[in-house]
């Protein structure tokens, strides 16, 4: 059942997935707790003087949120692919090396210091969460290197322990400085999809797209690495350089998603596995397809989160796990006989 990946096949698959994404985004933009008519929206485009709720809901609330979900979904899915390949561990997800607790710690420090400014439309919580996420990943990477040159086990253990340690610090800080600000922060971290400023979406999309492109550049080396360190080196791959780039880029785009929307679980774990199960393990195709399907998945999940308990809203993480879990298990049973894990 091995089929070779030709450039033509790759382009066809990416184009098909892209069309699906556009269709899903279009359909989801018409679904919501408030039914709006596309005609009313289009009528209001030419006449800015009159305020039309349909237009404002569609253009200023729903579309930005859908674009945000698409950006975050793409970044998390790609980052999941890379961490699973680098750590050679099927349980790896974008948050495995301490990003979640580092972001949490950063956000809580921002709240406790009481900063009140905005930088490029981002609140101090978002900026500190970003810095905390990157700082923690660097720390884990550094400790991992001390344990031996790119020993995966050392890196993983360092990640788990740093995660546990920072989580404990977060618990300690929240219990000594109880305030409604901290509760709001924790709520923010649990996944927070809102309509964002256009510039924030624009820059976020730019960074994530560049990151995905960079990962696509090194996908042949990632293929080699998934056979193991020694094999990759014997194939002439500069493993240290590949790992460093992949690691830095994946951590960077994950940290961006954290600062955009908090922590959203499950996307980075199941989308890469799902794509790998259906289309095979070649990273040249895994990275672009995971990005697009991650977007589709999160846009759809977020739309459900918006409407399922109307008029209230659910955190999107609830939906990604409830819908994604069973769906993934079906894929797992159906396709797993055809593939071997991570090879």
């Amino acid at each position: 059942m091995k089929e070779l990946l030709t450039p033509k096949k790759l382009v066809m698959r990416i184009a098909t997935a892209g069309l699906v994404l556009v269709a899903v985004m279009f359909v989801c933009s018409l679904i919501g707790t408030q039914s709006i008519s596309l005609k009313a929206v289009l009528d209001a485009v030419g006449a800015p003087a009159t305020v039309s709720p349909d237009y404002e809901i569609f253009v200023k609330v729903r579309l930005p949120r859908i674009f945000l979900a698409a950006i975050v979904g793409a970044a998390l899915a790609c980052s999941g692919v890379v961490f699973q390949a680098l750590l050679r561990n099927p349980l790896a997800d974008p948050y495995i090396l301490g990003i979640s607790s580092g972001a949490g710690l950063g956000a809580i420090i921002a709240v406790m210091t009481g900063f009140n400014w905005t930088m490029w439309g981002r609140s101090p919580i978002a900026v500190f969460a970003f810095a905390g996420a990157l700082g923690t990943v660097w720390l884990v990477w550094f400790i991992g290197r001390l344990t031996g040159k790119f020993r995966v086990t050392g890196l993983l253990l360092a990640g788990v322990v740093v995660n546990a340690f920072f989580s404990a610090v977060i618990m300690f800080l929240t219990s000594i400085a109880e305030s409604q600000h901290l509760y709001a922060t924790i709520f923010w971290l649990m996944g927070n999809m809102t309509e964002e400023d256009s510039l924030v979406l624009w820059t976020g999309a730019g960074c994530v797209a560049a990151g995905i492109m960079a990962l696509f550049y090194i996908s042949p080396q990632l293929n080699a690495l998934s056979f193991g360190e020694e094999d990759a080196r014997s194939m002439g791959v500069n493993t240290a350089r590949t790992r460093t780039i992949a690691f830095a880029v994946a951590a960077f785009i994950t940290a961006i998603t954290v600062s955009l929307s908090g922590l959203i679980g499950f996307v980075g774990l199941i989308v890469p596995h799902g794509v790998r199960l259906v289309f095979g393990p070649d990273h040249r195709q895994l990275i672009p397809l995971s990005a697009i399907i991650g977007s589709v998945f999160l846009v759809a999940a977020d739309t459900l989160a918006r409407i399922i308990v109307a008029p209230a809203q659910l955190p999107v993480g609830v939906i990604t796990a409830i819908i994604g879990g069973p769906f993934f298990l079906v894929l797992l049973v159906k396709y797993s006989r055809r593939v071997t894990w991570l090879k």
Binding site: Q34, T118, W120, H181, D197, A210
Partner: protein, 298 residues
Amino acid sequence: MNKWWWLILIVLCWMAAGFVIFDFPQSQKHSDTTMPSHVSRIVSMAPNLTEILFALGLDDEIAGVTLCSDYPPAATEKTKVGTFWQPNIEAVIAAKPDLVITLGFDLQQNLAERLNRIGYNTLTVNIEKVSQLFEAIGIIAAATDRQDRADELTRGIRKKLNRLAAVVANSEKVRVLWVVQEEPLRVAGRDTFINEMIELAGGENAIGPTIHKYPPIGAEQVIACSPHVIIEPAMEQQDIDGQQHTAMQYWSKFNSLPAVKNRHIYVIDADRVSRLGPRLYEGVETIARCLRPQLFAN
């Protein structure tokens, strides 16, 4: 030039284009929105704000309330715009408000900022202390042109509170333990409006100053603070008698406490005492009845 340099160059151009196409985002300030002279569609984002609006006679102007706004009964018939914790911004906009009133919590302030950015008028009030309640009523009244009703409302509440204060003034303060949650045990501390309500009702918080607003406490502290009365706001509005029974059972293990010995354990309607709103006096009176049932016997 290799592919990596191209990538960096394209990203830089993309960023630059973004800053050219979209304006550099200004930090949102509340002051730059001007209040309309007359408001006719108000959305309230918290149950106690809804109660204030109704108390000010704005029944017809209310265009939307949160799911948990159930008092006065007319509030349940208003359009719902999500919950306090999970507001639905689409529903808020669909209600076509000319004023959205939120509380000062981070989450609500965030909603207010988002609405401001889209171009809606918002009003944020802090209601965490009794004095802030009176201030907030004044602020909302000023924004909705209902000053007369507001004066009448606050005067009425103050008068009733003063009358109650006069009744309980000469008796000794009753030590109250206010239980927020049983497992694990959490109680209301000194820095809460519950504490103020207890004092207005002629009681005193059995728990001394604590770091937390609602401190978790252990059995040792429960015994040490020796409350004369234990009050638990009911978790659910139905079956208060059942909850009263459970509470009696729970506290029977602390049978050395005066409150337990004398069976002064009360489960009360939570809405009256957990929302700082126009029903403040009713809440305080409910507490006062628990502290000194004999005073209210006739």
